[in-house]
């Protein structure tokens, strides 16, 4: 029996259309728009102004607090303007727009492809380098990586868990990174282990990627303390709490962080970025994303410079299909629908999914038949049918006592509901309101 998490879960159609397509390099666009807020936490403060010359990897916006992240230029050229433009969230946010001229990198960056296994940096230096490089969680949550590595006093990290689950249907960028950059990922894992002072790391991979499991298992023999852990394919295994439950059988109490059970989780893409930052002095200005969809000509994986328009990625894969009904930034379960293709790709862009119109339209919502399927699939052990009614009736006290804030918004309930009820929509509304009430109490 393969391991998986303790409660609920679903198995949507995997549709990993681009799994066998090797990572290609997306051409550098003519202009890039780099938002100063691509992470959870305070937006960075711009340190360049109009007409400044910048190089690839140059700091253009500085972290403005502990939970914040540096932003670097992904191209060389001239700052055209610093202005509010619409980003993938649909809101207007401050971005630095750079006109591209050539491709001149900072001299400090080691551009060779040689694998550097020797980790010379010490614990403090590693965390400092990761913070300087602006690395955030690349699984999609974009939480600044150095924050998770700074273990609060009184707590001890026992194990590092690498999230290589990629449980979202369609997405394959982590899969390709493991196959093509396996050694770099494992060195990155060892760097993270050193930063945390742990001697054990577990790489959790779902068994729908047998080639990645085989490849990393073979390589892991050369690295001390790293175990490859195959997991049963089950959504939402990539959720931090679910992954910890699946790999080390510990459940994080409500409201607590992974460190409570001695674990720190980092994404496999983050491990690669950490390797590049620490061993090659390369800040985070490019990453890999999947462009996919059933009607798309060429579902594939691309390494892109941050700030590249979404449109360029679609064009590289054969252009927007005629029948496109929804453009999703991320996977189909937790991704965000975009209103336009003229928004920039950012640090959190793990993929782009083009859904055909007939799949994009929601079916009519019917009365709840109380089948209890939402309860049985909820990975947090909540009662989505009830939370929806409570949110609708504005019963915020009941919502709080029924643990609405535990919801990880994985969408398993809405996915499963035979009556097509918009369960998660209402739960999100309720969470927003309850969160507000809880903050005002402090």
């Amino acid at each position: 029996m393969l391991k998986t998490f303790s409660l609920g879960g679903i198995h949507p159609a995997e549709n990993k259309l681009s799994a066998s397509s090797a990572i290609q390099v997306l051409p550098i666009p003519e202009t890039v728009s780099i938002p100063i807020s691509q992470h959870i936490g305070a937006p960075a403060t711009p340190v360049v102004k109009k007409n400044d010359e910048v190089k690839v990897g140059q700091l253009i916006a500085k972290s403005s607090g502990f939970v914040s992240a540096n932003i670097h230029s992904s191209v060389s050229g001239t700052v055209f303007k610093v202005d509010d433009i619409m980003d993938a969230s649909g809101f207007r946010r401050t971005s630095i727009i750079i006109k591209v001229d050539g491709d001149e990198w900072m001299e400090t960056i080691d551009r060779s492809e040689d694998l550097v296994k020797e980790i010379s940096a010490g614990k403090e230096e590693i965390i400092k380098k990761i913070a300087e490089a602006g690395i955030v969680g690349l699984g999609g949550a974009t939480f600044p990586a150095h924050v998770k590595l700074s273990v609060p006093p009184g707590k001890t990290a026992e194990v590092l868990i690498i999230n290589a689950v990629e449980c979202e249907p369609y997405l394959t960028s982590d899969h390709r990174v493991m196959l093509e950059k396996g050694d770099e990922v494992l060195v990155g894992t060892q760097i993270l282990m050193k930063a945390l002072g742990v001697d054990r790391a577990i790489v959790g991979i779902e068994n729908n990627k047998p080639d990645a499991i085989a490849h990393l298992t073979k390589l892991a023999g050369n690295y001390k303390g790293i175990e490859i852990c195959p997991l049963k394919t089950q959504y939402p295994q990539g959720g931090e709490k679910q992954l910890i439950s699946a790999t080390i059988k510990r459940e994080i109490p409500s409201g607590a962080l992974p460190i409570e059970v001695g674990a720190v989780v980092q994404n496999v893409g983050t491990a690669l970025a950490v390797y590049e930052a620490v061993q090659k002095n390369k800040p985070l200005f490019e990453r890999v994303a999947t462009i996919t969809g059933k009607s798309l000509k060429n579902p594939s994986n691309w390494k892109f410079r941050i700030g590249t328009p979404v449109k360029d990625l679609i064009d590289a894969a054969g252009g927007l299909p005629e029948d496109t009904g929804k453009i999703v930034g991320g996977g189909p379960m937790m991704g965000k629908a975009l209103t336009t293709v003229d928004v920039p790709l950012t640090k959190g862009s793990s993929g782009l999914l083009l859904l055909p119109r007939e799949e994009a339209v929601r079916k009519e919502s019917k009365p709840c038949i109380r089948c209890g399927k939402c309860v049985s699939v909820c990975p947090m052990g909540l009662e989505p049918f009830l939370l929806m009614v409570l949110a609708d009736k504005k019963a915020y006290e009941r919502l709080e006592s029924d643990a609405v804030m535990d919801c990880i918004e994985c969408g398993s309930c809405s996915f499963t509901c035979p009556a097509n009820r918009p369960l998660l929509d209402y739960i999100r509304l309720g969470k927003g309101k309850v969160g507000q009430i809880m903050r005002s109490r402090k």
């Binding site: 249907p169 496109t324 991704g335 003229d342 019917k366 009365p367 209890g372 052990g381 996915f415």
Partner: protein, 331 residues
């Protein structure tokens, strides 16, 4: 970009499951029992089924259109289930006019007064059945003998159900070992060769339906297993305490409406609890009440009453029995 795109919150994909798929899945699971009832009771079973289904559809349509002034949603398949279950729960020679009253009570009082599908507290088919049982006790307890297509619809040859035989006999003080000679053997009970409501007799067909619903994940094992397990344990204990006064577990499981109730009526989505723990408590309640009514009550059969009583407890169970939350300390 000229293409108009939709914007909505995640998730952006759906399992494709629907109310219809579940309802027609249940109907498909009831087909074996339906076929067996036709084979055992002939023309009568066909007349009863058609009348019950047609009248359930008709009453739901009329009530939603003219009383509730809503667009009728009879295509969801729930009226079909209520119709078939109502037919399953009555003798195969029940007069048409009584069936019509049953359907009106089932749909009208059991379901639509609460606001239609999803809102009813009690299983509609059972509301109809119990109403008929109390109002027309003679017609509702004259069971035609399973003679196949020789079973007449009018003036059929009737006989008692095994449960009634035992109950009457024990009342007169006859020992159980004696009475069991008049009851068909276990194999006959399993195959349904006995008197009873038209859909409840063929245990084997009902079990086939259960297997299908479990395989298709329409229902989970919790309720049927809890009901049957409780009946087996409780009647087993009684039987061991005095084998001459109490029938054994196998007899209790294979006779009367227990399998029909445990598989198709206690598992009704709308009127059963939401969490697995709740379902088990509910199932145990049904099992206990069934045996209590059968052994100590006035009626020889108690499944319908047991389910209806436990239906009333479902809102309470839903409030007090919560699923295990992630990260909760196990006590």
């Amino acid at each position: 970009m000229n293409t108009k795109v939709l914007v909505a919150p995640s998730p952006h994909v759906h399992s494709g499951d629907s109310i219809q798929k579940n309802m027609y899945g249940v109907v498909f699971a009831m087909l074996p029992a339906l076929v067996f009832s036709f084979v055992y009771f002939g023309m009568g079973a066909i007349i009863v089924t058609l009348t019950a289904v047609a009248s359930c559809y008709l009453f739901e349509f009329l009530i939603s259109k003219y009383l509730l002034k809503k667009v009728p949603t009879i295509t969801d398949g729930s009226a079909l289930i209520t119709g078939i279950l109502l037919a399953f729960n009555v003798p195969a020679n029940l007069p048409i006019w009584i069936i019509l009253i049953g359907a009106l009570v089932a749909i009208g009082i059991g379901k639509m007064t609460f606001g239609g599908l999803g809102n009813n507290v009690f299983n509609p088919a059972l509301v109809g059945r119990v109403f008929l049982l109390i109002s027309f006790p003679v017609q509702m307890t004259s069971w035609p003998k399973p003679l196949g297509f020789d079973t007449a619809y009018f003036d059929a040859q009737t006989g008692a159900t095994p449960l009634a035989l035992i109950k009457e006999g024990l009342k007169k003080g006859e020992p159980l070992s004696q009475l069991m000679h008049d009851v068909p053997g276990n194999m006959d009970l399993l195959m349904g060769n006995m008197g009873g409501s038209m859909g409840e007799v063929a245990g084997i067909a009902l079990l086939l339906g259960l297997a299908y619903m479990l395989f298709k994940k329409i229902i989970t094992w919790h309720i049927p297993v809890a009901v049957l397990g409780t009946v087996a344990v409780f009647s087993g204990i009684l039987h061991m305490s005095n084998p001459e006064a109490y029938a054994g577990p196998l007899f209790h499981i294979l006779t009367g409406g227990l399998l029909l109730g445990a598989i198709f009526m206690a598992t009704d989505y709308v009127t059963s609890p939401m969490s697995n723990k709740g379902m088990i408590i509910y199932g145990i309640g049904i099992g206990l009440l069934t045996v209590i009514i059968r052994v100590f009550g006035a009626y020889p059969e108690g499944v319908s009453f047991a389910i209806l009583i436990m239906n009333a407890f479902v809102p309470l169970i839903n409030v007090y029995v919560k699923p295990k939350r992630f990260g909760e300390k196990r006590k």
